[in-house]
């Protein structure tokens, strides 16, 4: 069971993996530096993992510009932090079958490439190598998922 977490978001710019240059950014909603309430911890972790793959402002060099593409499917990282481990079974509210319903918070963020030479598999490899990632997944019950960019 995941708690619905209210993640504070701000406007940002992302260089999409499908792009073939360093100039065209797409507007996105990215995770804000400041969070309050439930889920702030996991939101902060996810934000940190992709911090160099999202931009709060357009870069000043190279004459970049941004487009607004409604419902653009960015590559997405999603993480779940287990906040409380259940030790007794409780019944599923849907199927009625008893199981250990752990409590957890989850957050997700879109991300793109750092520069034109970057690609999706390199990005994943880099995130998996990050110290913050390793710390996050060390806790049993924390989970992480990646979804590719739509084309």
């Amino acid at each position: 069971m995941s708690d619905r977490v209210r993640v504070e978001r701000i406007k940002g710019f992302i260089l999409p993996f499908n792009g073939t240059n360093d100039k065209v950014y797409i507007s996105a909603r990215i995770i804000s530096d400041t969070q309050q309430g439930a889920g702030g911890t996991v939101a902060g972790t996810i934000r940190g993992l992709v911090a160099d793959r999202v931009n709060k402002t357009l870069p000043t060099t190279g004459d970049p510009f941004s487009l607004t593409v409604p419902r653009f499917e960015f590559a997405k990282i999603s993480g779940t932090l287990r906040t409380q481990e259940a030790t007794t079974d409780s019944e599923s509210r849907i199927t009625g079958i008893p199981y250990k319903r752990h409590r957890s918070n989850s957050a997700s963020s879109p991300f793109g490439k750092k520069a034109n030479t970057d690609n999706y598999s390199d990005a994943i490899a880099e995130i998996r190598n990050a110290a913050a990632y390793k710390t996050f997944v060390q806790t049993i019950g924390n989970s992480i998922g990646f979804s590719p960019e739509g084309d």
Binding site: E73, S78, I94, V137, S143, G145, G150
Partner: protein, 76 residues
């Protein structure tokens, strides 16, 4: 307050616990997240998508059923 995601794909994203997963499970997570996105766009037929879920030990009817219930609730 009802929460509606930007895209239905968000309901179908699969996460794994990397600490307790094999490399195969990791690859399957990528495959299924790609597949769900394609399935929603009609690029992959339902039979194939459900077979892929089943091959990765996920009960497709249970997994997609939960999403269906949620979407029905939102659009009722």
């Amino acid at each position: 307050m009802l929460w509606t995601p930007e895209h239905c794909r968000d309901f179908l994203i699969i996460e794994i616990d990397p600490n307790q997963s094999t490399e195969t499970e990791w690859e399957n997570m990528f495959m299924l997240n790609r597949a769900s996105s394609d399935w929603l766009k009609g690029r992959l037929d339902t039979g194939t998508y459900f077979d892929m879920l089943d091959a990765c030990d996920i009960n497709p009817f249970e997994f997609v059923g939960k999403v269906e219930t949620h979407v029905n609730l939102l659009t009722r």
